[in-house]
Symmetry: C2
Subunit: 273 residues, 2 copies
C-alpha cells in the first residue's frame, strides 16, 4: 500500500523526468505511487498541479517528492514556491555547472520531442520501424541487405520485441528470422540468411521459460512441451556455434539490456554519434 | 564539427543517463559528440573508460562532460577520481535529499532493467507489443474488445509507430485501423470499429506532409497525389467529427508526444500507478 506519492512534472512529455526519477527511486526499498503530469507549460497549469500536490500531501500526511523538468522560469517558480513537497529540479541542478564549463548560457528551451520530429534522426527511426515490421519473423528476404542487424533464434525467444526496440529507440534496421525444426533437420541456416551471416545475432532462452511462454499461446501442444523446447534450443545453439554467430540468453534480460548488448558487440559505432 | 565529447557512463544500459543528459544538452546551442558506455560495473572497466575520457580530453583540448549513473561506490570513485572531465553524478546528487526525506538509506543497487524483466509490468509490455502487432493496420477484429486504444486515420499518418510505442513504453494494447476511400464512400466507420468507438483516437496530418511521405513509398501514384491526400484527410476529419472521435495532428509531433497526449486524454489512469 503506497503511502507517498511521487510526481513527475514537465513542460514536455515528462518521459525524461519519469525515466530518471524511477531509476533513482529504484534504489530505495519503497513503492510510492507515481503520477506523471505532462505538458505543464503555463502558470495556470502549474497552479493546478500545485493544488493536486498539496491535496495529496494533506491526504497522505507526508509531502510528495516532485521531479521537475521545466525550462520556463515563471512556470518553474510557480511550482516550486507554493508546493508542499520535496522538489527536485533536474534541469537547474545540472544546467549551471554545464554553463560554467561551456562558457555559454542555456537557452531555457522546452525540451520538445517535436524538434526531434523534424530531424533526419527521427525520419530514420520511423523508417527503421517500418523496415523491422516488414522483416519480422522472416517474412521477407527483400532488401535484407539493408538491415543493420538480423536476430535469429527459436520461436518466442524475444526476437520481435527486441527488433522493434532497436528500431524505435536507435533507428537500427533490425530484421528477425526464426530457427525452426526444418532448419535443424537440414542442419543449415535458413537460405535467406546465408549472405548476411556477419549481421546475425542470436537469442537463446532457458527451456523452462520457453515452455512456459509457448504454453500461454498453445497450451498442451508439442510445440510448447518442455522436451521439444529443450531439443530446439540445443539444436539452435549448436547451429549458431557452428556458424560463428554470437548469442545471448534473453531469460533474465529485458529488451533494453539485450538491445544495448547487441549494439555494444555488433554495432559499437551506434553508441557514438 | 563537434569539438567536445559527452560521455554517458553507467553500470546498466546507460539509457537513463543518455536520455536525461541529452535533454539537458538540448538547452545549449552546441552539438557535442555523444559516447555511451554501458555495463561499466567493475573497477577495471571504469579504468578503461577513464583512459578513453582522458585521451579524448587530450585530443580535443577541452575536457569532456561525463554523465554517470553508477551505483557501486568503488566503481564510481575510480571513475570520478582520475577522469579529466566535468563529471555530473546523476544518482548521488538526488539520492541524498531523498534519503533525508524518506528517512531511509538507499541500497546502492545497480538499476538493472533485468529486475524489471521478471515483473508483471514487463510481462504486460511484451503482451501489449504482441497485441499491437497482431492488430496493426486493421489486420484482425479478433479480441479487439481487449484493446485499450484503437488509433484511426488515413494510411501513413503515423498510426503504426504510435501504436507500437504505446505498447512498448506503456504496456498499452494499442490496435490501429486505417480509414480508406471505401469507408468515405460508404460514409461509415469500418464495421469492426463500431462496437469500440469510445476507445478510438484519431490521427491526422497535413496534406503536404502526407503526400511527401506517400511519394517516398509510391512515387507519382494517385495514392500519393496532393489532391488525393487532401480529399482523404478532409473526409477522415469529417468522419471523426461526425462520430465524436477526438483527434490530433501528427505533422509536428513526435510519437512520444502523440502517445503522451493520447494517454492524458483517453487513459489518464495510465499516468498514475
Amino acid at each position: 500500500m503506497p503511502n507517498r506519492t511521487v510526481f513527475f512534472v514537465s513542460d514536455g512529455t515528462g518521459i525524461t523526468a519519469e525515466t530518471f526519477g524511477k531509476s533513482i527511486l529504484a534504489q530505495f526499498a519503497t513503492k510510492p505511487r507515481h503520477v506523471r503530469r505532462p505538458f505543464i507549460d503555463t502558470e495556470d497549469k502549474a497552479e493546478q498541479v500545485v493544488r493536486e500536490i498539496n491535496m495529496t500531501a494533506a491526504q497522505e500526511g507526508v509531502r510528495p517528492i516532485v521531479f521537475i523538468t521545466l525550462a520556463n522560469e515563471l512556470v518553474r517558480e510557480r511550482l516550486t514556491a507554493d508546493a508542499n513537497a520535496l522538489v527536485l529540479d533536474m534541469f537547474r541542478t545540472f544546467v549551471e555547472p554545464i554553463e560554467a564549463e561551456l562558457g555559454m548560457k542555456s537557452n531555457h528551451r522546452v525540451g520538445r520531442f517535436s524538434d526531434v520530429a523534424k530531424s533526419q534522426e527521427y525520419h530514420d527511426r520511423i523508417e527503421a520501424i517500418n523496415f523491422s515490421l516488414a522483416h519480422d519473423d522472416g517474412q521477407s528476404a527483400r532488401n535484407l541487405a539493408e538491415s543493420d542487424v538480423i536476430l535469429v533464434g527459436v520461436s518466442r525467444c524475444g526476437k520481435t520485441p527486441t527488433s522493434l526496440y532497436l528500431a524505435m529507440q536507435h533507428g537500427i534496421k533490425a530484421a528477425n528470422c526464426p530457427l525452426i525444426p526444418e532448419d535443424f533437420e537440414r542442419g543449415k541456416l535458413p537460405t535467406m540468411l546465408l549472405p548476411h551471416r556477419h549481421k546475425c545475432f542470436g537469442l537463446t532462452i532457458d527451456a523452462d521459460r520457453l515452455s512456459q511462454i509457448r504454453n500461454e499461446r498453445r497450451p498442451g501442444s508439442k510445440y510448447a512441451a518442455l522436451e521439444n523446447c529443450r531439443y530446439e534450443i540445443n539444436e539452435a545453439e549448436a547451429m549458431m556455434k557452428r556458424e560463428g554467430i554470437a548469442w545471448l540468453s534473453s531469460t533474465h534480460k529485458s529488451i533494453e539490456e539485450i538491445a544495448t548488448t547487441i549494439l555494444r558487440d555488433l554495432r559499437p559505432d551506434r553508441l557514438i554519434y
